[in-house]
Every structure is written in structure tokens, then in C-alpha cells.
């Protein structure tokens, strides 16, 4: 078996080299398929990263430390929040933002809406939250509050309550069975593009919210923003081990709808890849079959002089394997380099696909420019799939080669 394999490998390499034209055509087909796969993965993963990052930065962070089983309507403060913040802040590449949360009613002369009042440290939040970058009017919360504290609201909320910069609004909430309220001045209006965020969140200084709660040091959640989204899981495990009494969750646990959307969309993408693989398989099958049919005489002759059918089978399959491995590797390198470059410069979807300047993904509006990203394991898996598919495409032609009758083949022209 090993001898047959070595011989078949040797013959296959020689055939690939000497049937250069056919080899190049087949290789280019596989190569192009691989570049397309890598490029598509890069674009879609870049879009996922963008939307997840947007959602995480406008919400609970990539990782959040909070009270176990946090009730969104009656949140309990996190015990030993200072310790949690100190441990999280010590993680390299991590920024932290302590937050207090309170479901509240925001009222103005124009009406009232239910939303989540998010108490933040303005300075820390400026570094971590995407909301501070999404201001369309006014300014972010100042570090020092004046006599009437400020509030930053979403554009949808502003429209619904007919609020503008400098207008006053009241945040009202039920705390320990009692109604409690605070008067605030609209200092800024943000527009993230996500209706859920633009109408569902209002940002106030954490100190103001703590006063409203009657809990001066209450922190319900410590949001951890990471320099790389893919570090979320290991950081979660690290924090959970260090803070056994707290609950540490990753973005997909905190935003399950978004996690499900990404998983579902990725699975949908896999179906598209399956079609692409099928096209590559058919192209390879066609190329290898043509190669077998063109070489009936050669294969018949090889069988006539004593080549075992199994060796001939291996020769044909190995030719495809050699071509596919080389082409897939080259495709991964070229596609990877393309994605790397685009990941650096960004891709304007408007230019690439003729789309609008921004698009809605899972309820979040992302700008027209995304930064493609290539997860190494997924790329490796897809490269392996291209090789497997190519080899699968060569099996039937290879079997056909073994069925050639030498007597007929050597008379074949």
C-alpha cells in the first residue's frame, strides 16, 4: 500500500507538472473558489464584529460582571463592585465602565416613555461607549455636573418627547415601593441607528442615578470592553474564576438575540458556502473527468503494462489532491492577504456592493465601512473543506479510469 501510494504520488506530481495547461486551469478554478470563500468569510466576519462591537459598546460590553441572575426590572447592586472593577481593570487590553441601571419613566411636556436609565461615569464611558461617538447634537455628559444634572437621550426618544438640547425632563422610577424622581437637562442627543437603543436608553451620571436609587455606591454592572472581541470567552472565564460570587457573561449571553442572529447568519453563510463548494466540486469533477477521458489511451497503456487499478485510482485522486492543496493554500494566502489589507483600510460597502452608506444588521445600524476579519480556525476549516470537496470531485473520474479496458484503450485515438 505504501509503495503504491509513493508510486502514485510520484506519477501524480509528474502528471501535474507535465500536463501544465490543464493543471493551471484546474488550479485556477480551485484557487478562485478559495479566494471567494476567504473573502466572503472576511466580509461577513467583519460585519459581525462591527455589529457585535456596536451592540456591546452601546450596551453591556463584551463581557459584563453583574449580580447573579440580574433582574432587569429590579436590579440588585453588585456586591464588592470595587474589587470587581479593580480585577477587570487589571486585564491587559481591557477598559471598564461601571454602570447603574434603573427601569424608569422619562417625562417631558411632550409626553413620557419607558426606558432604561443608565448611570455611567462620564469620563470612563467616553473611552468605552460608542454612544459618546454617536452624538448628533450637544455634548457628552460633563465630568462635573451642575445644579441640574444632564441627560443624554436617543434621537427617537427626543422626537417622541419633543425634547431638544437644554430642555428639561424628569426621570421617575419606583424605588422600594416609593416613587422617586429627578429633574435633568438634555445635554446631548445620540443616534446609533438601532431603534432599540435610540428609544430605549437614556444616559445619566451614575451619581445622579445612585441618588435616585437611594444607594450611593450602587453599581449593577461592570462593562468590560476588550481590544479584541474574540478574547471575550477567555476573559469571561478568567473573571468568573476570580469573582465566584458574581455572574460574568459574554456579549452573546448578555444580548442573546444578537448572539442567535450571528449564529443563524453564520449558518446561513455556511449554506452559501456549501453551494460554492458544490460548484467547485462540479468544476473539478468536470476538469478531472475531461482529463481522464483525454488520457484513456495513456491510462489503458498503464493498465496494460501492469499498473494496478488501485494505483491508477490513487494517481488520479492524488493529482486532484496535489492541485487542490496547492491552490487552496495559495487561495487562502491571497484571500487572506486581501482581507488583511481590507481589514486595515476598511471596505466601503457602498462602493463594493452599491449599497447605501449604512445598513441595518440585527437591529443595529452599521456604517458603510466595515473592516474584514479572518478567524484563523474558520479559514483553516474552510481550506480543508475545499481540499475535501476537490478530492471528492475526483473520486468518480478516478474510478472511471480504473474501469478502462486496456485492449480498447490502446487502440483509442
Amino acid at each position: 500500500m505504501i509503495r503504491s501510494l509513493a508510486l502514485a504520488h510520484r506519477l501524480a506530481l509528474r502528471n501535474v507538472r507535465r500536463y501544465a495547461r490543464r493543471s493551471i486551469i484546474t488550479a485556477v478554478t480551485i484557487w478562485f473558489g478559495m479566494v471567494m470563500v476567504v473573502f466572503t468569510i472576511g466580509i461577513s466576519e467583519g460585519a459581525y464584529r462591527r455589529v457585535v462591537d456596536t451592540a456591546a459598546r452601546s450596551g453591556p460590553g463584551h463581557v459584563a460582571v453583574q449580580t447573579p441572575d440580574l433582574d432587569p426590572f429590579e436590579p440588585e447592586p453588585l456586591a464588592r463592585a470595587d474589587e470587581a472593577m479593580a480585577i477587570a481593570a487589571a486585564i491587559p487590553g481591557a477598559e471598564i465602565a461601571p454602570r447603574a441601571r434603573l427601569p424608569a419613566l422619562l417625562s417631558s411636556a411632550g409626553g413620557s416613555v419607558n426606558l432604561l436609565a443608565l448611570g455611567v461615569e462620564p469620563a470612563l464611558e467616553r473611552k468605552t461607549s460608542i454612544l459618546s461617538e454617536a452624538l448628533v447634537e450637544g455634548e457628552w455628559l460633563p465630568d462635573e455636573q451642575g445644579r441640574v444634572p444632564e441627560i443624554v437621550i436617543g434621537r427617537t426618544t427626543a422626537r417622541r418627547l419633543d425634547l431638544g438640547l437644554g430642555d428639561r425632563a424628569v426621570v421617575m422610577a419606583q424605588v422600594d415601593g416609593e416613587l422617586s424622581s429627578v429633574l435633568l437637562r438634555v445635554g446631548g442627543i445620540f443616534a446609533l441607528g438601532s431603534d432599540e437603543v435610540d428609544s430605549g436608553i437614556a444616559v445619566v451620571p451614575i451619581h445622579t442615578l445612585q441618588l435616585l436609587l437611594g444607594q450611593p455606591d450602587a453599581v449593577h454592572q461592570v462593562a468590560v470592553i476588550l481590544d479584541d472581541l474574540h478574547r471575550a470567552r477567555p476573559v469571561q472565564r478568567q473573571l468568573q474564576a476570580a469573582l465566584p460570587d458574581a455572574e460574568v457573561q459574554t456579549w452573546d449571553q448578555l444580548l442573546p438575540e444578537l448572539g442567535d442572529y450571528v449564529t443563524m447568519d453564520r449558518n446561513g453563510g455556511d449554506v452559501s458556502f456549501a453551494f460554492l463548494f458544490a460548484i467547485v466540486a462540479v468544476a473539478v469533477l468536470n476538469a478531472v473527468l475531461m482529463s481522464v477521458l483525454e488520457r484513456v489511451k495513456e491510462f489503458g497503456l498503464m493498465l496494460a503494462v501492469g499498473t494496478r487499478p488501485s494505483t491508477l485510482f490513487l494517481v488520479v485522486v492524488l493529482e486532484a489532491l496535489v492541485l487542490s492543496m496547492g491552490s487552496a493554500a495559495l487561495g487562502a494566502v491571497v484571500g487572506g492577504a486581501l482581507v488583511l489589507w481590507m481589514g486595515h483600510t476598511g471596505v466601503d460597502l457602498a462602493t463594493l456592493f452599491g449599497m447605501e452608506q449604512s445598513m441595518d444588521v440585527a437591529g443595529y445600524d452599521i456604517s458603510g465601512t466595515i473592516y474584514p476579519y479572518l478567524p484563523p480556525l474558520r479559514t483553516l476549516y474552510m481550506s480543508a473543506m475545499v481540499v475535501v470537496v476537490t478530492v471528492a470531485g475526483s473520486l468518480w473520474p478516478a474510478w472511471k479510469a480504473t474501469r478502462i479496458e486496456p485492449v480498447e484503450a490502446i487502440r483509442h485515438d
Partner: protein, 231 residues
């Protein structure tokens, strides 16, 4: 003649082809033995069954009826793989239309069967080079078939057939596509190899030059042996 070792034996073999609704009998109960060291020609008019007979002896085809033996082995029950091994190890082929693998050089074509046998590289190299030189292809080892004349290609085919030192060389009309001078040179070369190595040669041919140089002439007519003459 019967004292010598029998290399090939056809025992009442029939080979029938179906052409539409008509059955064509290429061989009709033919029996023939070929012995060690024979330099025999199977001659006869077109359609007499020469090539069909060689295909039976070469384990390239199966008889419709009857039995073929190669070195005493009944070929009837051999699998495709075992038949391939038999051809690789015991039989050398020279076909009519100088069948060489087009992407292999003269050297690589001659080396092919040795590669299949797993002969060590050094032995392969020595044997292939000496054979190519012996058939007059010194200095042409690296040429591809398209860079060789018909006669030169047929010499490569002879070198390939002899490289694994087979018990038997089967040559189907080896001079059919060659000019007179090249045909004579080729047949003389094979005769010399027969004398020197004792390898058994069985030709099919209606080339008078081949027939004249044969040590044994088997005449076929209508798929049967019409005469068998040892010279």
C-alpha cells in the same frame, strides 16, 4: 519441442464478439503452446485472430470459452489486480502504434514497469540506461515521444518491455508503422535479444521480414491454427 518449458498455452479457446445482433467468432476453439526461448510469429490475414490471440496470452482480454495458461497459471479466475500483477512481472508488451506515455521521456517510459515493480533506483537506472543504449537510443534518454521518430519510439517500447526481464514478450504487429529499414533493424534487435537473454518472443505480424526471421511460424486462419512450423 515438448521437452522445453511451456510458457503459454491456449486450450480450446473461443473469443466471440457481439456486433449488433451478429456474433463474430475471432477465435474458434484455438489451442496453441509457446515454449521458453521461442521467437515465434503468429501470421495470417486480417481478421484471422492474431491480435485477439495475443490479447488472450497477455491477460488483456478473457476468452469466451476455453482456458489460457501463462507459466502454468490458469488466467480464468484471476482478478483485475492479479492480472495486472501478472502483466507487470511476467509479460512485456510491444504494441502496434508505439504506445508510449506522452508526458514521460524515453527513459521514464522504459522505467515505468520497474517503478511499478518497486525495483530500487540504482538497479532501475542501470537497467534502463543499458537497455536504451542496447536498442540504439544512446543520447536520446531525455526525449519525449513526440521528439522521437516512429522507429525510435518502438525501440523505447521494446526497452520498456524488456526492462522488467519478463518471461515473455508479446509484440502485436511491431513493424506495422515502420519503414522497411527500421523494421529490419528492430526485428534484428529483438532476435539478438532473444538469442542473448533467452526471453520468449511471440509476435503477431504479416510483415514478411518478421516472418522470415522467426524461428517458429504459426499460421492462423479463421480463428484457428492452420499450420505450426518450427524452423
Amino acid at each position: 519441442m515438448t521437452d522445453r518449458t511451456e510458457v503459454l498455452r491456449a486450450d480450446q479457446i473461443w473469443r466471440t464478439y457481439q456486433q449488433g445482433v451478429v456474433e463474430v467468432h475471432a477465435l474458434r476453439g484455438l489451442s496453441l503452446s509457446v515454449f521458453q526461448g521461442d521467437f515465434a510469429v503468429v501470421a495470417g490475414p486480417s481478421g484471422s485472430g492474431k491480435t485477439t490471440l495475443l490479447n488472450q496470452f497477455g491477460a488483456l482480454d478473457r476468452p469466451t470459452r476455453g482456458t489460457v495458461y501463462v507459466e502454468g497459471r490458469d488466467l480464468s479466475d484471476l482478478s483485475r489486480r492479479k492480472r495486472a500483477d501478472l502483466r507487470r512481472d511476467r509479460i512485456g508488451f510491444v504494441f502496434q502504434a508505439y504506445n508510449l506515455v506522452p508526458v514521460l521521456t524515453a527513459y521514464e517510459n522504459a522505467e515505468l514497469t520497474l517503478l511499478l515493480q518497486g525495483v530500487p533506483a540504482k538497479t532501475r537506472d542501470e537497467r534502463v540506461k543499458s537497455l536504451l543504449d542496447a536498442v540504439g537510443l544512446d543520447g536520446m534518454h531525455d526525449r519525449f515521444p513526440r521528439e522521437l521518430s516512429g522507429g525510435q519510439q518502438q525501440r523505447v517500447a521494446v526497452a520498456r518491455a524488456l526492462a522488467p526481464r519478463p518471461a515473455l514478450v508479446l509484440a502485436d504487429e511491431p513493424t506495422a508503422n515502420l519503414d522497411s529499414k527500421t523494421s529490419t533493424e528492430l526485428i534484428e534487435m529483438m532476435r539478438r535479444l532473444n538469442d542473448e537473454t533467452g526471453a520468449t518472443f511471440l509476435f503477431s505480424s504479416h510483415d514478411q521480414r518478421v516472418i522470415d526471421r522467426a524461428k517458429r511460424l504459426v499460421l492462423l486462419e479463421d480463428g484457428q491454427v492452420a499450420s505450426d512450423e518450427v524452423r
